[in-house]
Amino acid sequence: MFYRESGQFKSAYAADQAMFPILQDRIGMAVILAVAFVGVPMVANDYFLSTLLIPFLIFALAAIGLNILTGYCGQLSLGTGGFMACGAFAAYKLATALPEMNIVVVFLLSGFVSAAVGVVFGVPSLRIKGFYLAVATLAAQFFLIWLFTKVPWFVNYSASGVISAPPRDVFGFYVTGIEATAEAKYIFCLSFVAVLALVAKNLVRGRVGRAWMAIRDMDIAAEIIGIKPLQTKLLAFAVSSFYCGVAGALWAFIYTSSVEALAFDINRSFQILFMIIIGGLGSILGSFLGAAFIVLLPIFLNVVPTAIGVPLSTAMIAHMEFMIFGALIIFFLIVEPHGLARLWQLGKEKLRLWPFPH
């Protein structure tokens, strides 16, 4: 309906392969970015920023990470939480050991630390596949969390084991610690997520992404056309863990302001997995949609029953959440394995052909 593509022809491959080949999509994306960077900080209150948008952004980043590994490269992982924890603790160690280091650099480096750990745990993917691998990634999950809980070096020998994120600034604005405003934190997260999402999109639409998808769709055929399976999978593990690691660092430093291993337990891994199943396997957009869904559902469950006069107990809400997530996962796997992203895509296709059905 909104699409007027007639006359938008491509006379170069660069334009044909652009991220948003349709003008209306480019405009839409520009509007979204403008609203996110300018509009939202101007209107939104602290509560909205810190309890909704910031976790949403961080979840989206982690979901992109898992989506790269699972959605694009086809390697199911249940160790997302572990890799996130890796990033969080690496960032903590780096930030405390090198207080002068810019926090952006700290986060990026902690991403690389996670990537390295991811590669180690990705090595078995050469020999084992499918759910065997999923089980193997559980090893990463449990081992890493245990490591961060039990080895005091990671928490700088703090007695309680729970530590708060040190205050750091970017361009004079505090983005972590008590003095950081919700707006500054939000903008900081948003910038990180926007840039990294762009990088992820770039990766998946080029040579690297094609190799991943080839492995995912048919690993034997992929190898026979010359794709090195181990290298390709390890790269996916590395990139995926990088994203998860940065997300973990953001989570600990910006969202909760405290670094604790328990925030990244097995349930976190499942949560992220649900995001990409609901949002859409093999879709960057889907990672955002899934994250939004998972952030919003509990709030919805809190607000709606109260609004219609049937308030639920906290335990009840927790159980309802479990059931709804479980049911939704099954629903999406049956009805639309490509999740919300595919639904959006289909809707867009409809709009492009409107009013015709095909």
Binding site: L76, V135, A139, T149, V151, A315, F322, G326, I330, I334
Partner: protein, 312 residues
């Protein structure tokens, strides 16, 4: 530094050498825990063999069975009635899963089915806790828990009973598989879905039966674990412990599940008792996984699994 590491690695060996009786106790304790792991793993294997589904929900089924059993008892039902009602519940659940999840997903890649069972896990976890509540419940089916002594070695009576129950269950299942018509049908299904269907075995019925049997196994496991640890959400996590057991034993082998369980049980216990103190303890969370992982690198199909021949 090197000395520290060597000391850490080999120090406990000396200890074992010096106190062999204690070591035997530890090993037996490990074996008996291993039996319990095997019990959960058995459920996985059953379902995997008959439907190719890696049922992540097996742990949740253990929790659900235990919750229902205790719940019915709390409502005033005698043990036998609670047992029957719980079995009926598990059968109902098996039918629902077959109808609502497996049937629509038939012919999907295994990984999709696996993720679907994660969905099942969450759904039934939520559902049963909504019904029965999430408080820790005590379960007592009258199994004595006093330690007994065999030739200087102390053993927990409860563990012995659990081992006996598990053994009986395995024997029954083995008989069921080898000698009954349904059992043979199940084996046929496992070998070749189409062949099984073409000789007139209704695949859907088979699936319901398998899931129901897995429910029964879950109930037994639930009662055992529940009596030992109390019935609570963490029971579902026991199931996660069964995963490395499976990797070790191979997904398709009942003996593998048992032996894998024993190896994990012993390995974990020994490591926990002798080596864990040196590195902070609590290693049972991950030791089994790392063990399985290392093992996988050398034998991807597990101890008793069939070698995977890739075809193009």
């Amino acid at each position: 530094m090197t000395g520290d590491i060597l000391g850490f690695l080999f120090g406990p060996l000396k200890e074992i050498w010096e106190f062999p009786i204690f070591f035997v106790e530890v090993v037996i304790g490990g074996l008996l825990t291993g039996v319990m792991y095997s019990l959960v793993a058995l459920g996985f294997v059953l379902i995997f063999k008959a439907s190719g589904v890696f049922n992540f929900a097996q742990g949740a089924m253990v929790l659900c069975a235990a919750l229902s059993f205790v719940g019915f008892q709390e409502l005033g039902a005698p043990i036998w009635l609670a047992l029957i009602l719980t079995l009926a519940t598990m059968l109902l659940m098996a039918m629902a899963i077959e109808r609502l999840v497996l049937r629509p997903l038939v012919n999907q890649p295994a990984i999709i089915l696996f993720m679907a069972t994660i969905g099942i896990t969450f759904f039934i976890d939520g559902l049963f806790q909504t019904i029965w509540g999430s408080d820790i419940k005590r379960m007592d089916v009258g199994i004595p828990k006093e330690p007994m002594e065999f030739g200087g070695v102390l053993v927990n009576t409860f563990d012995i009973v659990a081992a006996l129950v598990a053994g009986t269950l395995v024997a029954t299942l083995a008989f069921f598989f080898q000698s009954t018509r349904i059992g043979r049908a199940l084996r046929a299904v496992a070998d070749d879905h189409q062949a099984a269907q073409s000789v007139g075995i209704p695949l859907r019925t088979i699936w319901v039966i398998v899931w129901a049997v897995a429910g029964l196994v879950a109930l037994v496991a639930g009662i055992m674990w529940g009596s030992k640890l109390g019935v609570q959400f963490s029971l579902a996590l026991i199931a996660l412990k069964a995963l490395p057991v499976l990797i070790l034993g191979g997904f398709t082998s009942i003996p593998g599940a048992i032996i894998g369980g024993l190896i994990i049980g012993v390995g974990e216990k020994v490591a926990e008792v002798y080596w864990a103190p040196g590195i902070g303890g609590g290693i049972e969370d991950w030791f089994a996984y790392i063990l399985a992982l290392v093992f996988l690198m050398f034998r991807p199909q597990g101890l008793f699994g069939e070698k995977i021949i890739e075809r193009v």
